[in-house]
Symmetry: C2
Amino acid sequence: MTDRSPLAESLAELGPIEGRRTLAAEIADRLRDLILLERLAPGAPIRERDLAEALGISRTPLREALRILEMDELVTYSATRRPMVADPDVTTLAQNLRVLGALEALAGEEACAQATDAELAALAAAAREMAERSDSDEPLAFFRRDMAFHSGIVEAARNPPLLRAHAQFNARLWRARFISSRRRLKRARTLEEHLDIAAALSARDAAASAAALRTHLGTAADNVAAARHDPGED
Amino acid sequence: MTDRSPLAESLAELGPIEGRRTLAAEIADRLRDLILLERLAPGAPIRERDLAEALGISRTPLREALRILEMDELVTYSATRRPMVADPDVTTLAQNLRVLGALEALAGEEACAQATDAELAALAAAAREMAERSDSDEPLAFFRRDMAFHSGIVEAARNPPLLRAHAQFNARLWRARFISSRRRLKRARTLEEHLDIAAALSARDAAASAAALRTHLGTAADNVAAARHDPGED
DNA sequence: GTCGATATTTTGGCATGCCAAAATGATCCG
DNA sequence: CGGATCATTTTGGCATGCCAAAATATCGAC
């Protein structure tokens, strides 16, 4: 590190100025996780005072966090401004899924032009590994691999705004996709499609990648719809 | 209106419960306009106290509004959390524009399936009218028609999440697109492309609509890049 | 005169408090 | 009893105040 005065140095050690985050952002992340994992049930009302106390913070940063989650559509407000955990219906989920499909298709295209060979190889390896472990993997582990594969594609596109938008829509759909993923019905198809996608990417065939991703997201939409109509099983 | 008790009625008249909005949301909208119209200059630091006072509100709702605009990427924060009006570079604008293109392409596809004949006719009429008025229109009026045409397509898709995402990205790009639109360089091409889009939509040809919108947004990207490299003129 | 240390001011983050409006519960009349 | 009315409590919205950290100004040494 560069030379600094004794005072400046001691200050630097105690208070890192880089990458500081606000409580609100931190809380938004925590709440996001709680919502995705259904520790906060969909449709459940959110009482600011209680939740703030439970989190050990005051209402001000909590309210800012709720604003963030409102933009993410993970928290909605009643007509009388009472906040609650979002609980989108099938139609809304399908609409979001189509947008996600368009975003991933674009990501696939851009990844063909922007990704390094190493990245594409890693994606291909991930798809292969998923296929091999398919039977042994626990639902959550399988699902995480699935999500990581998709996120990897978007990262490879090297388009930060796209990455953020993708993360946003992905979060909205996380729960629904996880639920439908637990029912192993179409795992085989999912895995095939992943391999198709990886192949198209490795060939740097933008059109094929986009097409493969679109049909894959279409499959996801079918799965979500099916899971909603026929809840039980797992 | 339905029968109500005298008391309930008088209360209803004074305090409309429907569609209530918060100050923060209101302020976010106002600030959005101020940013888009450059009454708040790109890159300018935002002092919460001053701005709150200027708006006649306290810092709390202003801060919540800034959170909203941060998600919209119209306000950014320095490493030390000092808020300022966003000032995206050309690369970022191009990246956002590609996302916007993907969103509009999807909107075009869905509009082909969802829009009413009347909506499509209105879009075609709008494109035609724009072409006719092309020479007489003031830059701002021309630009507003342009934006309205695009928004009309997205509305016709009847996909609320898509509509919101589109509005978000559109806002990010508003300034840049307006600036490039003022330089009338490629008005003719813009108008042609609008007619192409309208034609594809009227034919309810999803693939053609998507393709036309994509190339159109590509043109927009070129225009933005050109305007940045060669500022002056108008 | 310039650079660096230190004092001062400014700024954003968070907590607290108050208020109006909505939700809830008690009450009274039919 | 049932339903409307009124009292009570709860809740979210906003303003205010305090604090720590960053920015700026001040000063001093070389």
